[in-house]
Amino acid sequence: GINAEYGQAVIEPLTFAFVTKSRSALVREVFDRYHKYLRLHDFHQSLNVTLGKLEVVVKDPNEELLLETSENYTLSVTSESATLQADTVFGVIRGLETFSQLLNTYNYTLPSVHIEDYPRYKFRGFMLDTSRHYVSVSVLKLIIKAASWSKMNIFHWHIVDDPSFPYCSYTYPELCEKGAYSPDHVYSQTDVLDIIVFAYKHGVIVIPEMDTPGHTLSWGKALPGFLTYCPGHGNIGAPYGPVDPTNEEVYSVLRNLFAEVTNVFPAQFVHLGGDEVHYPCWKKNENITQWMAAHNMTGDYDALENYYEQRLLDIVNSLHKNYIVWEEVFYHHVKITPQTIVHAWKPNWKRIFQQATTAGYRCILSAGWYISRIYYGEDWQKFYQLDPRSFNDTATPDQLALVMGGTVCMWGEHIDNSNVVSRFWPRASAPAERLWSPEYITDVEFMEPRLEAHRCRMVMRGYPAEPMTLRGHCQHEYTWRRKHE
């Protein structure tokens, strides 16, 4: 809760200090970041400074970032003193963001407040597709950083798909050599580590998605026999369809690749995809038909898909990683471990949530949060009004507890470096509030001015976050770098 009191604090951005007894280098790096934000404003007024520092207390020196890691913080500001207490450095990151948002950038005042804050949902994700169009490492960082300003904590990296394979594997280097658009459109191991570390420093966990057995066209360029051959029935005009589940070599590739991916990405989870597997290609392939007959599966392509998924899950289980799967894997009744998170993306998500939570599985929501779809006007409102726990009025507390949160999705058909930042922000901040704030904070009229202020703050920090209102302005407008004059 927030208790505002009379009497504001006035600070002087140049000399204001964050102080702590913590010995953590990460805490200091976060201080440095927020110092920069405080200093972005020009000020020409004389200030009667009342507040010189923010005292920061970190209770737990453990800096491992997990889904369960505490992000709680307590922030107290009066005209003369300010303290931020958090269980972990990640609570400090959340609390400093709040502190920076409290600053009135016209007069350098902060209100006297006492804030106790913590997330409502543990899983507050944003997904980006870097296969249909490539997004540069520097732009990925922009998005991650802006996500941390909205207190999101999961970057679901849909890194490969049909059109291109930009992830450069050390086990199978030819996957990106042949599957990426060009040698300039790849994520090297260095790039991937750079992203993981950058995200970590912003309290964001990177969960990679290696989507199979559909959406794998780009894999096939480097792996002969990996995909099902079916001229005329393949993906996007190619003669190939999904992974060929009857080829034993496929499973050794998957074992090696997932062993690598689960090493490279420290997250507890890997996303296994599993969506939109089209059967016509499998149906057209003679070898598959014969194999199915030999395995008593004739005509039962659900069974074939399940066979594949089960083999894949066995591999990932042996790597001791938990996994997230798109909803299809759940409703096709593949045997999934109790730790699995079911990721709903289709319009009937409420039914999926009902069934999955009844069966004891955790769920996350993306249906309704496809922000790559654009609409004229204030489309953030409908993103804002969606609540993942609203799937069933009679859901039990145990069921509700299994709803971990959700992920806003930016699919890559129409985005790349040129427009992804302005399309993401501040629209994604609306679901971000839904996922963090208390259930009863739902009023769009209460949100609108805060969202506009939030986007202007992003603009001040140098991000092209687009306007959400019919008319208006920011204190400092976005300016483009000028090289061409």
Binding site: Y181, S182, G237, I374, S418, V421, R461, E477, H484
Partner: protein, 546 residues
């Protein structure tokens, strides 16, 4: 090596002399052939031998030879009569800079291009709407020197852009071509609205760069409107001091001149709009008795509506302001607005109604007519061409024969039929409100518009259609997103306005348009993708953040 990602280049028969229609046919055949040859591309994109937007009027291919550019020695050399010219010098600097940024690539066996000569016959012709923008461009297989010849400097600017677009950035070569090109329509405009959201001058510069890449020639600057008045008038400083969002959101005269000069260097004329008598809420903050008082039923539900025509002093203000505006903005064009005048505010004002009775002004249409006639009298004294929104025509106001009618509402075909029948020149915007975004490939519907689709119009009447204009109104748009929302969607409109009426193959355009936007990204204009997957050899890389 790196060869695995390079697009295969397919040759065509030498010495082909083609009309644009044959050219298109050839392009399509080439696309098919190349897609077949590069099966692993999965339809991602196609090699296109003339990836130019807008597509040129006439092109002939000399041969399959492709000379490469040598960025270290390459120079653009103007004839002596234009060496000192600002438009030419700045354009040469610009294009030499763009070429200098491309990575060096291996030399083509067909030889290199070491220079491009620019010849302009009439170097002193000023920029105007209707100025000769034609040019011819020759890249010969037998010469290391390419050439552009144009009647005016602005034709040369158009030719330079075509030359840039002919460069294949992945293999570093140019095709051997002879292009003769000229616009179909004289007026090819783009509207920006700096009242609803302010655009810093740098962002207007970026818009101008992108417009000139698509051979637009008019920037319609809807500079003031209800929400804010950013134009900082020396005659009426209070207009901006009270009517702008704040004094960091204004255009000084110096800002305006920077914009008009920068636009001129890109062959673009700036047409300012001072929209009256509606859309003037921001004016009223500093001008007493200027707006009609109508508590609770005014603009945005407030207390003030349109300009009050019953007060003579208001016309004195307009006279002084518009005289200033026409002297600040070069080019001699002015947009007078005149759209969406609501009558209910006027109706509710008893003093105004009494005045009407006294003056014998019977209806509110007559009142609007009274206002516009007085305004046009003022403008006639200013020696400027002027444009008005279609309501002025639709409402049957008495207007001079040289008025240009700007059509923006629905059923534009019928409206334009009436406008040209009445003998007025006209500009089309109705189908080209680019601020109305929709998910997916909405550029197609902009592209498929045909401005001559006017029922019953005679060839003489069609001549009165002087062009069209894409509009980016300022609701939900500011410096953060205007570029990616405008480009390359506006380029689809640009091709409709520049290229031959017969150039309309949507599939071919989708590949050219995607390539066009990649050319923009290479020049740090964040133009969004057209194809649903793919990449640019030079991705947009122009964010500058803290």
């Amino acid at each position: 090596g790196k060869q695995w990602y390079q697009r295969r280049v397919r040759g065509i028969s030498p010495a082909l002399f083609l009309s644009f229609a044959d050219m298109l046919l050839l392009l399509l055949t080439t696309i098919v052939a190349v897609t077949a040859a590069t099966g692993e591309d999965y339809g991602l994109g196609s090699f296109n031998i003339l990836p130019v937007v807008p597509f040129p009027q006439e092109a002939e291919m000399y041969s399959t030879a492709r000379r490469s550019l040598d960025p270290e020695v390459f120079r653009i050399t103007p004839t002596p009569n234009i060496q000192e010219d600002k438009v030419i010098a700045s354009s040469i600097a610009r294009y030499e800079f763009y070429f200098s940024r491309f990575k060096p690539l291996p030399t083509s066996p067909d030889g290199t291009l070491t220079s491009l000569t620019l010849t302009v016959h009439s170097p002193s012709t000023p920029l105007s709407i209707g100025v000769d923008e034609s040019y011819s461009l020759t890249i010969s297989p037998s010469s290391p020197t390419a050439s552009i010849t144009a009647e005016t400097r602005f034709g040369a600017v158009r030719g330079l852009e075509t030359f840039y677009q002919l460069y294949n950035v992945t293999d570093g070569t140019f095709p051997s071509v002879n292009i003769k090109d000229y616009p179909r329509f004289a007026y090819r405009g783009f509207l920006i609205d700096t009242s609803r959201h302010f655009l810093p001058v740098e962002s207007i510069f970026k818009v101008i760069q992108g417009l000139s890449m698509s051979k637009f020639n008019v920037l319609h600057w809807h500079i003031v409107d209800d929400p804010s008045f950013p134009y900082y008038s020396p005659s009426f400083p209070g207009l901006a001091e009270k009517g702008a969002y704040d004094m960091n959101h204004v255009y000084t005269i110096s800002d305006v001149l920077r914009v008009t000069s920068y636009a001129e260097d890109h062959g673009i004329l700036v047409v300012p709009e001072f929209d009256t008598p509606g859309h003037t809420l921001s004016w009223g903050k500093s001008l007493e008795n200027f707006l009609t008082y109508c508590p609770g039923i005014g603009t945005f539900g407030g207390d003030y509506g349109p300009i009050n025509p019953s007060i003579d002093a208001n016309f004195g203000i307009l006279q002084k302001l518009l005289a200033e505006v026409t002297s600040v903005f070069p080019g001699g064009w002015l947009h007078l607005g005149g759209d969406e005048v609501p009558f209910k505010c006027w109706q509710s004002n008893k003093e105004l109604v009494a005045w009407m009775k006294q003056q014998g002004v019977k209806t509110f249409s007559d009142l609007e007519s009274y206002y516009e006639e007085k305004l046009l009298d003022i403008v006639h004294g200013l020696n400027t061409s002027y444009v008005v929104w279609e309501e002025i025509f639709n409402n049957g106001l008495h207007i001079q024969p040289d008025t240009i009618i700007h059509v923006w509402k629905g059923k534009w075909n019928e409206t334009m039929a009436k406008v040209v029948k009445a003998g007025y020149k006209t500009i089309l915007s109705s189908p080209w409100y680019l601020n109305y975004i929709t998910f997916g490939d909405d550029w197609v519907k902009y592209y498929e518009v045909e401005p001559y689709d006017i029922p019953g119009a005679t060839p003489e009447e069609l001549q009165l259609v002087i062009g069209g204009e894409a509009c980016m109104w300022g609701e939900f748009v500011d410096a953060t997103n205007i570029l990616s929302r405008t480009f390359p969607r506006a380029s689809a409109v640009a091709e409709r306005l520049w290229s031959s009426q017969k150039v309309r193959d949507r599939k071919d355009m989708s590949f050219r348009l995607d390539k066009h936007r990649c050319g923009m990204c290479a020049r740090e204009i964040p133009a969004e993708s057209i194809l649903h997957r793919g990449y640019c050899p030079y991705e947009f890389d122009g964010y500058d953040w803290h």
